[in-house]
Structures are given as structure tokens and as C-alpha cells.
């Protein structure tokens, strides 16, 4: 068909009405915004492409061209969703996109020509119904934006200075610190959808505790002087980004995420973890650990253990005592592009597993290695107790 510009936009917006309504219902049912955000991205990307690209390039569009164009739009929507931090489950978002695309094809090839005799003659323009569809869609977007605004989680700002903790957060909210804001005594999070940003937490047994909560975000937090865990996560799903954790003491750990596999994938990225027994410890959890710097630990730098699954990528682990990166106890670990340097042998025990191993697998664990740089470690890699290390081709 040879679409006019208005025809393209009319057809697209009218076809988007159904998915937009479905997205609204899904959002209400799931108490999540991602369906609406994905629908809005789809429409936005589509209309932008119609305006900037398709109308100029495609004087005539055979039916089959919808397929590569759809794939192109899916790629763009996915990229934008990641860039804009739309928290949509990938598979569900793709199913939503594909279903919407199929509906648009059915409407364009069958329903519109049946409902409007001159649909093809008029280059896809839908006349008054098209304008009504656009207006309805705009109203729906405004309504969604209004609801989002009204129901947005409250933001609490902590002023510069020291605040006495522990602060307990048991509702969805965003806690933001002004420059120099410090909480002494820790923060406890027990609600879904909590974000903590730009805060320094000093002292306490655990610096930040996340317990039984989902969609928790910890961004730009500094945790100093906790006696047990800098960040302590149980039965939860978290995204920890750009943090600084400094702990001391033989039992202290930098970040510990445990018993959270059933909550879905968590992530720890861009953090600097210093000191303590284990820098990043993961038990029975699914976690992506990437772009962190871990140094000066006394037991292990990063440990993924107890049937955990995940990826340890692009981290720098240095000056660990005994083991740099450990994959242990039936865990499955993809360990790639890390730098592990200057791991020291633990001479206090006569254990080969602590002889300064750069990357180690223990007890039926599987570690898949690719592109790691191992420098100055007495033992670069080692596997014990029926564990396996597989080197993938680079």
C-alpha cells in the first residue's frame, strides 16, 4: 500500500488503541507501570519512525516489509526500554509487542479495508474515526500520566547532617539524601518498590537491611563501619548500583544477598567494596554481579554459593586473602572478563583451596570462564570436590 503520512499515523494510532487499553488493564491488575510504559514506547517509536523515516523512504510498502520494520521497531523499543530503565520483564514485553504488531497487521490488511471502502485509495487515512482514535489514545496517555502522578511513591529527603537510625521503611517510597546527609545506625527496608539514593550510612550491625521486599533500588549509597554486613539482603529482589561499602572485622561482609532466588534476578553493579571477610557473598540467589571493585577481603573476594546462579562480569578483585572469586556448592556461575590480581595464600591453614586461588570452583559447582585476566595469583584457577571449570572459547 502507498500510505500517506496521515494514513500511516491514523492506522498506527487506531491499531494502538486496543493494546493501550490492554496495557492499562494489565497495569491495574499487576500494580506495575511497565505495560503502559512499553505501550507508550511502542506508539512513540512508531510515530517517530513514520514521521522521520518511513514516509520519506517508502513510497510504496509491500505487505512483507511490515516484518523487517516490526523487527526494527522491536529492537528500538527494547533498547529504549533499557536506556530509560523501564522495568519490564523481557519475555512478557516481547509477547506484548508481538501481539500488538499482529493485531495491527490484521487491522491494516483486513479490518480497516472492510470497515472503510476507501481505506486503500486514501493511503490508510481513516478520516473522522482516525482522529477520534488519536484523541482517545491521547486521552488515555494523559489519564495514565495523571494516575502515575497522583499515585507516585512519596519522596522523602534527608537534609544535610547526621540523622539517628535505624530508619525503618515499610511502605513504597523514595528516600533521598541531600549532599552530606548521614544516617547513623542503619536503614531497614521491608516494603516493595523502595529506592534509597545518595545517602551515607555509618555504623550499626548491618548498614542496610532489605528483608522480604521486591523492586528495591539502592543507588549511590555509602556504607561505612558496619560490624556484620554492609548491605544485608534476605528474601528480596534488589538492584544495587554505584555504592561504596567499607567494612572491617573478621565476620563482616560487604554485600550479602541470600535466599532470594525465588524473588527473581537481582543485580550489583558499579560498587566499590573494601575489607571484611567476603566482599560480595551470594547464597541461594540469582544475581548479576558486574563492574564492581572488590579489594582487601580476608576470606573471598566474590563468592557465589549454595545453588546460586548468575554472572560475574567485568569486576576487579584485588588483594584478597585465600580466594579471589569462588563458585561453590552446586552453583552455576558465568565468570567472564574479570581482573583478579594479587590474591594472597592463606598460610594460617594448610588448605590447598586457600592457596591464593584466582578463580575457584568447589563442591559440584560449575564455573564457566571466559576472558578473565588473572595476575599475580599463586594458583590462577582450581576446582575441588567434583566441581568443574569450563573455559569457553574466546
Amino acid at each position: 500500500m502507498s500510505y500517506t503520512l496521515r494514513g500511516r499515523i491514523d492506522s498506527r494510532l487506531a491499531a494502538a488503541l486496543g493494546p493501550a487499553a490492554v496495557a492499562a488493564v494489565l497495569a491495574l491488575a499487576l500494580h506495575r507501570w511497565w505495560p503502559v510504559e512499553v505501550a507508550a514506547l511502542m506508539v512513540g517509536v512508531g510515530v517517530a519512525l513514520d514521521l522521520l523515516l518511513y514516509d520519506r523512504l517508502l513510497d510504496y510498502q509491500p505487505g512483507w516489509v511490515a516484518l523487517p520494520l516490526g523487527a526494527f521497531e522491536l529492537g528500538l523499543v527494547t533498547t529504549l526500554a533499557i536506556a530509560l530503565d523501564v522495568r519490564a520483564p523481557l519475555a512478557a514485553a516481547i509477547v506484548f509487542f508481538v501481539a500488538s504488531w499482529l493485531l495491527a497487521q490484521l487491522l491494516g490488511h483486513a479490518a480497516y479495508p472492510l470497515l472503510r471502502l476507501s481505506y486503500a485509495d486514501e493511503g490508510g487515512e481513516l478520516g473522522r474515526p482516525g482522529a477520534t482514535a488519536a484523541a482517545t489514545l491521547a486521552a488515555l496517555c494523559l489519564l495514565a500520566a495523571g494516575v502515575a502522578w497522583v499515585t507516585r511513591p512519596p519522596t522523602i529527603t534527608l537534609a544535610t547532617g547526621v540523622h539517628r537510625g535505624p530508619i525503618v521503611i515499610d511502605r513504597e517510597e523514595t528516600l533521598v539524601g541531600e549532599p552530606g546527609a548521614v544516617v547513623r545506625g542503619g536503614i531497614v527496608i521491608r516494603a516493595d518498590g523502595v529506592t534509597v539514593r545518595n545517602l551515607t550510612i555509618v555504623g550499626g550491625e548491618d548498614g542496610i537491611v532489605v528483608y522480604n521486599a521486591r523492586r528495591v533500588r539502592l543507588e549511590h549509597v555509602r556504607v561505612l563501619g558496619a560490624t556484620m554486613d554492609g548491605i544485608h539482603v534476605r528474601f528480596s529482589q534488589v538492584a544495587i548500583r554505584d555504592c561504596d561499602v567499607v567494612v572491617e572485622g573478621s565476620y563482616a561482609q560487604g554485600i550479602d544477598v541470600s535466599y532470594s532466588a525465588y524473588r527473581g534476578m537481582s543485580s550489583i553493579e558499579g560498587c566499590d567494596v573494601s575489607g571484611g571477610s567476603e566482599g560480595i557473598a551470594l547464597h541461594s540467589s540469582m544475581v548479576m554481579v558486574s563492574d564492581n571493585r572488590v579489594h582487601g577481603t580476608t576470606l573471598r573476594g566474590i563468592a557465589m554459593t549454595e545453588m546460586s546462579m548468575g554472572e560475574v562480569s567485568r569486576n576487579s578483585v584485588s588483594n584478597a586473602l585465600g580466594v579471589g572469586i569462588l563458585c561453590n556448592d552446586h552453583s552455576e556461575c558465568e565468570i567472564d572478563r574479570n581482573v583478579v590480581a594479587d590474591t594472597r595464600a592463606d598460610r594460617s591453614v594448610g588448605d590447598r583451596a586457600r592457596a591464593g586461588v584466582g578463580i575457584e570452583a568447589q563442591f559440584h559447582a560449575l564455573a564457566e570462564l571466559e576472558g578473565n585476566v588473572l595476575v599475580g595469583n599463586p594458583v590462577p584457577t582450581a576446582a575441588f570436590s567434583s566441581a568443574r571449570i569450563e573455559h569457553r572459547a574466546e
Binding site: S2, Y3, G7, D59, H109, L117, A120
Partner: protein, 367 residues
């Protein structure tokens, strides 16, 4: 309701089905055609003459008022296979002539077409205050669509009296040594037909044919191309129409393969004039221009209608501007409507004119 369609060929038939789809009852419409009640009769005779097997048009080339479901969907249902639809999405589905004719017969039976055709030749249309008087009919009609078909076969003057010559669209067999005059779709079809019949073929043509899938660029089938076309000046429009009328046929091995083989064997050659061949097939299309049609010629003369070159000037919806207003409509469908729609001589063009006609009737205060 007083609606008349003058001409019971495919364009008239498409207009009839479109009017029914638009909510009119069969008894609201009278169709005038002297040659019978088969809307495909003339087209079939020509297709048979050139041994046409497949339609040049794609899935949209059918007589139903809506573009969906087209012939590809129909074929897919019949064959229980998605292949025709996939081919259609790639513009590769060309229904067979047999499939098309079967479809015409089905629609004809379903719509009560035969009961609406009056076997009468209309030779003159005269505008009166409340509509149009059709000479030969007994009533005045408020809304009239002229679907007159091509005004006749075009044979070069120098070959008119030549006993060897036959027009491609007239029944004929092939002699051993054949000259085919012309370079369009019918000529290309005749080259292959004659070669397949064992003849030696000379293609007589003044210029190289264009290779394009359809007569008209696809953008001109929709408002995308039509918007500019309708606002262009008469000179530019005439120039474009002349260009579009240049002979053409689709590219592809279906055409080129047999011609290359025959050229290698010395059985196919190109010449600028006829030279002693045993048979001369004139694949030179149809007479062109409103003046070639008796009814249209009279209409223009008697109502002093605006024309440009050999085209009758029409509104974008294929109506005659001077004879169409809020209470009456005179529409043109088929080749004579090219001023409004360059591909007017196709089925899609016939539907375009029919939709314009239907819109006018629907909007009429006194219909």
C-alpha cells in the same frame, strides 16, 4: 431511487456491487448494456484471444467492493494453504484467468446482477434539471455512471485494409511467420504465444518497451500520489498520462527467458516496420480519447464540457464537474476517467470511480 449504470462490463459490474455494499437495493439500480448480461464477456473474449493465463493485477484485482478478502484469501481457503496469502504479501500472487472468471460468475449470481441488466444501447445522455435523460430508456435518472469501456480496437491506419492483419484481441491462430506490432503487455504475450506455436516472430515497434510491474506507479493508486496529481496543472497531467500510456510489460524470466532462447535460435527479432510476414498481429491496444466514443463525444459537444487534449476533465472523484451538483451525479468509470485516476482502466480504478459515485449518491439530499 433513480440510479443508472450505462455499460454492463466489468467496470459497471464493480460499480453495481459497490452500490449494493453501500446499502442500495438491487431494484434501485438499472444497468444498461446492449451486449448481454455477462459482465466479463468482452474481457473474456480478449483474454482468450491473447491466450492470457494469469492476471497482471494482484490480489486486489477482483469485483468485490472491499479490497479484503481478495482473491488470494479466496485461493488460500480453497487450497487450504497460506501460500497465496504469502505470495500476495510479496506482490507475487497473480490469480489465473479461470479463477478470476469463476469469481465474477459467483459474484454475479450472488448479487442479482442479471435481473438488473436491461438489454438496451444508450447512445445519448442529456442533462436535465432533475437528472439525466438516457436516450432509449424511458425514465430520467438522477445519478448516472458511464462505464462505457474502451471505444474500440486500435489498428494502425496502414494495416487496416491489410488482409494479413488481425488485432491481438480478436480470435486468431498463428502463422509460421508472424509480425507483432506493438510493445505492451498484449504484444509481449503474443510474442510468447506465437513462439510457443512454433512461429518465427518479428516484433515491430517504434520504441523499446518499458519494464514495470503495473501500468501505473503504485503511489498513484492512493492519495499519496493522487494528491499531487489532482493539484497538478493540465499540461503536467497530460504529460504524465502520455508517459503512463507508453507500452510496458513486467520484467522477469517468465518473459525474458523464452525471448532470449528464441533470439539465439533466430526465431525472434525486432524491426521497425512490417516486412512481408505471413501474418500481422496488431497488439496496439485501444482507440484513445473521449472523442472516439460516440456517447462521450456527443455529451461533450452538447454540454460544452471541459476537455484537455483527448481527455475529458473530471473532478477527483470521477464526476463530471459541470453536470454534478448536490442533487444529481454524472460519473465516469473506466479508461475515460483517467483525468481523475490514472489507473482508471483497471479493476481498482473502477472501484475508485464507484466509491466516488456512491459517496455522491449517499450525500444527495433528494436521492
Amino acid at each position: 431511487m433513480r440510479v443508472a449504470i450505462v455499460g454492463g462490463g466489468l467496470a459497471g459490474f464493480v460499480a453495481y456491487t459497490t452500490l449494493l455494499h453501500g446499502g442500495m437495493e438491487p431494484e434501485d439500480v438499472t444497468v444498461f448494456d446492449a451486449s448481454g448480461r455477462d459482465p466479463a464477456a468482452v474481457w473474456r473474449r480478449r483474454a482468450e484471444a491473447i491466450r492470457q493465463q494469469r492476471m497482471r493485477s494482484e490480489s486486489d484485482g477482483h469485483c468485490l467492493p472491499t479490497s479484503f478478502p481478495g482473491l488470494a484469501v479466496r485461493a488460500a481457503r480453497r487450497r487450504v494453504s497460506p501460500l497465496p496469502i504469502v505470495q500476495s504479501l510479496c506482490n507475487r500472487y497473480h490469480p489465473t484467468v479461470a479463477e478470476f472468471l469463476e469469481h465474477v460468475a459467483e459474484v454475479q449470481a450472488r448479487t442479482g446482477w442479471e435481473t438488473r441488466v436491461v438489454a438496451r444501447r444508450i447512445e445519448r445522455v442529456t442533462a436535465v434539471e432533475d437528472g439525466f435523460v438516457l436516450e432509449g430508456a424511458e425514465r430520467t435518472f438522477r445519478h448516472v455512471l458511464l462505464a462505457l469501456g474502451h471505444p474500440g480496437l486500435n489498428v494502425p491506419a496502414e494495416l487496416e485494409a491489410d488482409p494479413r492483419s488481425v488485432h491481438a484481441y480478436e480470435p486468431h491462430e498463428y502463422a509460421a511467420d508472424v509480425a507483432v506490432v506493438g510493445a505492451g503487455m498484449a504484444a509481449a504475450t503474443e510474442w510468447l504465444n506465437a513462439l510457443a506455436a512454433g512461429a518465427r516472430v518479428t516484433s515491430v515497434r517504434r520504441r523499446e518497451p518499458l519494464r514495470r510491474p503495473l501500468n501505473v506507479p503504485r503511489a498513484l493508486f492512493s492519495r499519496r500520489g493522487l494528491a499531487d496529481y489532482h493539484t497538478s496543472g493540465a499540461g503536467a497531467r497530460t504529460e504524465l498520462l502520455e508517459h503512463l500510456l507508453e507500452p510496458s510489460f513486467p520484467s522477469g524470466q517468465t518473459w525474458d527467458g523464452p525471448l532470449e532462447d528464441a533470439t539465439r535460435l533466430g526465431r525472434f527479432s525486432v524491426a521497425s516496420q512490417v516486412d512481408g510476414e505471413e501474418q500481422v498481429i496488431c497488439a496496439t491496444g485501444f482507440k484513445r480519447g473521449f472523442a472516439q466514443d460516440r456517447l462521450l463525444g456527443r455529451l461533450v459537444d452538447e454540454h460544452r464540457l471541459e476537455t484537455h487534449d483527448r481527455w475529458l476533465v473530471l473532478s477527483p472523484d470521477c464526476t463530471v464537474p459541470a453536470l454534478t451538483d448536490a442533487d444529481r451525479t454524472l460519473s465516469i468509470a473506466g479508461a475515460a476517467a483517467q483525468w481523475a485516476y490514472p489507473a482508471a482502466d483497471t479493476l481498482v480504478g473502477a472501484k475508485y470511480a464507484a466509491r466516488g459515485f456512491l459517496s455522491r449518491i449517499t450525500a444527495c439530499r433528494t436521492r
